[in-house]
């Protein structure tokens, strides 16, 4: 059996069994959100603090809904700007919150490693809701959940991640998770936004989007931050949109059933064309729906909950594969 994790700091180092178990558990929780009464008592009596040191709308709401649907008691702590500029250190903030007997902490922070720092200091479970350019593990899991829902499994698939790889935590979590599940991952973007030695994470680099998309089963379009242009990393938004923007013409290179994902919020007309964002291939809203289920599974398992999947793993996997095919 796989031991429970106390923290979810990243997808790096997670085994395919662990990822499968998380996705299976999320599948069970997804059904809860479809009910008229969207609530289970799984985390009744558990207190969760959502510490958001960086602006976020959908991730924060998604975690909040996941917590409420698990019957946990949750509080939100939102600070704009870093803890340093506010005067109180991250350590003091976290220790104060722990002193109020909080069981779990969900943290979003602009500094890579901030969740690791808390995990080393606190007794509480720590769930990383995005740390700097490091990882965003629940986003990685919800992207994989969405893909598995479409595909049934991860066999013989190719995923292209396009955009600002250098500053993207979404990209890193996707890469760790997908590579572990045996998916071929190609990253694409301006060379100035591809970090050094990224190949060693098990991906290939292709700066030409048309070539990258050749026979792709899915493309994950990353948000381009306008401040990267101001920092001199690419010349203009217009040129970016022309060369690396995902539109229906360039998607002709991909497989006909190629799925289009975006972690949001989208810059329509920049990294993704309107018609693609709203088109048949888009699973962008499915990602958002699935985010709640995945976060329910993460919180549940990190709180010490037993895996919901039965021990007949083979049977269950086969059943799911069959179900997945029907959906696809």
């Amino acid at each position: 059996m796989i031991t429970n994790r106390k923290h979810l700091l990243g997808l790096e180092g997670m085994t395919s069994e662990e990822i499968t178990r998380l996705l299976d558990t999320a599948e069970s929780f997804k059904e809860v959100s479809e009910r008229p009464v969207k609530k289970v008592p799984a985390l009744r009596g558990t207190t969760i603090a959502n510490l958001f040191f960086e602006a976020s709308t959908r991730t924060r709401i998604s975690f909040e809904l996941a917590e409420k649907r698990l019957s946990a008691d949750s509080v939100n702590f939102t600070v704009s700007g870093s803890s340093v500029s506010k005067g109180e250190t991250l350590r003091d903030t976290a220790e104060n919150i722990q002193a109020m007997k909080v069981d779990m902490i969900v943290i979003r922070h602009s500094a890579a490693g901030a969740p690791h720092f808390l995990a080393s200091l606190l007794e509480a479970s720590v769930v990383n809701a995005g740390d700097g350019a490091h990882e965003h593990p629940t986003q990685g899991l919800l992207d994989m959940f969405t893909l598995r829902e479409r595909w049934g499994n991860f066999d013989d698939k190719k995923v292209v991640i396009v955009g600002d790889l250098a500053h993207s935590r979404v990209a890193r979590s996707n890469i760790h998770g997908l590579v572990t599940m045996g998916v071929e991952v190609v990253v694409c973007g301006p060379p100035t936004l591809i970090p050094i030695d990224i190949e060693r994470l098990g991906v290939s680099v292709e700066t030409d989007l048309r070539k990258a998309l050749e026979d792709a089963d899915a493309v994950n379009v990353l948000r381009i931050q306008k401040e990267r242009q101001a920092a001199g990393l690419f010349p203009s938004i217009d040129e970016y949109a022309r060369v690396w923007g995902v539109n229906s013409r360039v998607l002709e290179r991909a497989k006909p059933d190629c799925v289009v994902m975006h972690p949001g919020p989208m810059n329509r007309g920049v990294e993704i064309a309107h018609d693609v964002a709203d088109g048949e291939r888009s699973v962008i809203l499915d990602q958002v729906t699935n985010g709640v289920a995945v976060r329910m599974a993460v919180l549940y398992l990190c709180s010490g909950g037993a895996a919901i999947e039965s021990t007949e793993e083979t049977e269950a996997a086969e059943a799911k594969a069959a179900k997945g095919k029907q959906v696809a």
Partner: protein, 440 residues
């Protein structure tokens, strides 16, 4: 009956029953030392015979010239909550160092003779290690106006640098070298191209990509070093010392410059010999250092450069920071690790034990060779020099902990490391300067 060294209370005496390590002569042998009026009078093979002087028992320990660390941040004046001249020199003698050179990134910077005099006075009051102040190359370390080198040297400064920052412009670097040349003092450069480093917090490579931390490329150091070496070619009489070298590319540049006969010396720090960027997995802020811990290739190149002499000496870059400053997000933490008390055992553990160098060759890096880089005396067992001595056990293994350190700050990159080699007694001018109640 022999006396105990812990109770040393003479100025003229013998230390018997020791293994002499003489790095300047590259020898090691069983012997004894005679100290007369705080100066070395004789170093001889074999046991001491009947003598008129009191005899102290060296207890079979190794005896060597006191170590010299030419790159230390004592933080005083201005940052006394991190370290003071007194606490820093206590850490120094606990680590076997009888002399340290302190860097000018204090507040105010060491850009005025009064600051040099203040530091020397504090060192005298502390009464532990010798302190050699290094003055700021430019006023306030701002890279705009030259400091008054003649005044500073007259007050006791031994070199110039803007360490902590580079002298950013090529024009100013040239003027610094020109103006310092007639004084015979070295210009010590902190080689870094600030634009290339940008907001970087660790070495740029696979691990910065993996950890999502902004990288500092190797060429940030190399661009500045190569610029200075080009300038050095055209400035007659200048002496140049490259501080804390960390990359393979820098080693190639230094090697080439030495082959061309340029007056260049170079130092590295122990952490570049035994830690790498991959050790930052886990985001331990005690390992956040500038220049950053580099890749495996760089580390291996640094060991080779020590073996072939491209690197002249090792200095700790002892950089104390208070606990609350390091217990923050990785991006927000200040750079640096304390190093005075771990340098000697790190060199034994990572150079002597694997067989890269012998013990005398290793100690040369922190004795006479270090002194030569800075142009200060010390580091030898020559007759008539001050009896600055260290006695150590090269085989004792100990584990570095916050409690084992004497510096005011405990931000060591080596907490938890099991190291071999431990200093037992440190003598300056023949006087035991490790207080008994502190011990080591």
């Amino acid at each position: 009956m022999m006396l105990k060294l812990a109770n040393l209370n003479h100025t003229s005496y013998l230390i018997d029953n020791v293994t002499i390590v003489d790095p300047a002569k590259n020898t090691m042998y069983a012997g004894h030392v005679a100290v007369v009026d705080g100066k070395i009078d004789a170093v001889e093979r074999g046991r001491a015979k009947e003598a008129s002087l009191p005899i102290y028992d060296g207890g079979g320990l190794h005896l060597a010239p006191g170590f010299i660390d030419i790159h230390v941040h004592l933080r005083e004046p201005g940052y006394e909550y991190k370290e003071t001249v007194a606490s820093g020199t206590l850490a120094a003698v606990a680590g076997g160092f009888t002399a340290v050179a302190c860097m000018p990134n204090t507040n105010p910077a060491i850009d005025d003779p009064s600051v040099v005099e203040f530091i020397l006075k504090q060192a005298k009051i502390a009464g532990r290690a010798r302190v050699y102040p290094i003055a700021a190359a430019t006023k306030g370390r701002k890279g705009e106006i030259l400091s008054e080198y003649h005044e500073l040297v007259a007050a006791g400064a031994v070199a110039i640098t803007d360490d902590g920052s580079p002298v950013a412009s090529a024009e100013m670097a040239r003027r610094v070298m020109e103006y310092a040349a007639p004084l015979g003092i070295p210009f010590i450069e902190h080689c870094e191209d600030m634009a290339a480093s940008g907001a970087g917090v660790m070495h740029e490579g696979f691990y910065s990509t993996k950890l999502g931390l902004k990288g500092i490329p190797a060429h940030s150091e190399e661009v500045c070093l190569s610029r200075d070496l080009l300038i050095l070619k055209s400035v007659r009489g200048a002496k140049f010392h490259a501080a804390h070298m960390s990359t393979k590319g820098s080693i190639q540049l230094i090697k080439r410059a030495k082959e061309d006969g340029l007056p260049v010396t170079a130092e590295t720090a122990p952490h570049y010999l035994c830690l790498e960027d991959k050790d930052l997995v886990g985001y331990d802020t005690n390992l956040k250092i500038n220049p950053p811990l580099r890749g495996a290739d760089d580390r291996e190149a640094m060991i080779e450069a020590i073996k072939d002499g491209t690197i002249d000496c090792v200095a700790s870059d002892h950089a104390p920071h208070a606990a609350h400053e390091k217990q923050v997000e990785f991006n927000a933490a200040p750079n640096g690790s304390v190093g005075l008390e771990t340098m000697f055992p790190l060199l034994v553990t990572h150079l002597v034990k694997p067989g890269h160098l012998t013990l005398p060759q290793t100690l040369a890096l922190i004795t006479h060779k270090a002194a030569q880089c800075l142009g200060v005396p010390g580091g030898t067992l020559a007759r008539g020099v001050p009896a600055d001595l260290v006695l150590f056990d090269p085989a004792e293994t100990w584990t570095v902990s916050a409690a084992s350190l004497h510096s005011k700050s405990r931000n060591s990159a080596f907490l938890g490391h099991a190291l071999t080699g431990r200093v037992k007694h440190t003598l300056v001018d023949g006087v035991n300067v490790i207080p008994a109640k502190v011990g080591v």
